[in-house]
């Protein structure tokens, strides 16, 4: 009996953590001033949120149904690997496509790198969007 209760507490706890992170993400994405900060919010806290929810669900199936779901673990691992990379790529894309950071930003090292690269070989494709 107590195993079930413990399991339930564990599940509820992880899921609640996940939901909190999720809501934080949403607030962040809506409220933060520029794309970089939003990307930060999205990729970090969203990942954490989903990871804990998935863990909760994993526990649910494992502990209550006796179903050890490899797919879920794999999904957790996969998200853990790819999520930051996605965030990185998006931010870089945003920067290169010319989205200006908010005025609150201090320091911009990448600008120099890009300037030099652009001098070496000018961009070949046009931007439309």
């Amino acid at each position: 009996m107590s195993v079930i209760v413990l399991a339930n507490i564990l599940i509820v706890l992880t899921i609640v953590v996940g939901i909190v992170f999720t809501i934080v993400t949403v607030i962040g994405v809506i409220r933060l001033p520029d794309v970089y900060t939003r990307a930060h919010a999205a990729s970090k806290s969203a990942t954490l949120g989903v990871l804990s929810i998935l863990l909760g669900v994993f526990f649910h199936f494992w502990l209550k149904e006796g179903h050890f779901s490899i797919q879920l673990l794999l999904a957790i691992a996969f998200l853990f690997i790819t999520s930051p990379i996605g965030g990185h790529l998006m931010s870089r894309a945003a920067y290169i496509s010319g989205v200006k950071p908010t005025k609150l930003t201090v320091g911009d090292d990448f600008a120099e790198v890009i300037k030099q690269a652009k001098l070496k070989n000018p961009p070949t494709h046009q931007k439309e969007d």
Binding site: L74, F78, I85, A117, N121
Partner: protein, 140 residues
């Protein structure tokens, strides 16, 4: 402008295999749990797309030296052949056969000719989808 994609490329090498294995898993699982030739094939295609995204056409061509049109053809032949096998037994086209076999390592497994058909589906999906993506990507 050239940017390096070292982070992406390194991850991709790992992720590609995860996806590929997953696709194989999903393909084999198809008969009993969600999945099957379509999803499996499409997932493999997805993996290849990821490779193409991270690297480039030429590199991928070197790594996977198939003519994907031929892959499509083989897939079609496989699917058609499985279905047409029944013609030789004078039973209606597409009559499948299955039985339980005891194989070493796997234990008792149910082998089903539908699996072969599904493999054809898998190959066709991979072949056709990759053909499309490669060609469009290669169009100047």
């Amino acid at each position: 402008m050239k940017t390096n994609d070292v982070i992406l490329q390194t991850t991709t090498k790992l992720v590609f295999f995860i996806i590929f294995l997953f696709s194989i898993h999903i393909f084999f699982a198809g008969h009993y749990t969600p999945g099957g030739g379509f999803v499996g094939g499409l997932l493999t295609t997805g993996a290849i797309v990821l490779l193409l995204l991270a690297f480039d056409l030429k590199t991928v061509q070197k790594a996977l030296p198939f003519n994907f049109t031929i892959v499509t053809g083989i897939g079609l032949l496989l699917a058609l052949g499985t279905a047409a096998g029944s013609i030789f037994f004078n039973v209606p086209f597409f009559t499948h056969a299955f039985d339980d076999f005891t194989l070493p390592l796997f234990g008792t497994t149910s082998l089903h000719t539908a699996m072969i058909f599904d493999a054809g589906v898998y190959l066709v999906v991979v072949g056709a989808a990759v053909t499309m993506i490669q060609t469009i990507g290669g169009d100047a």
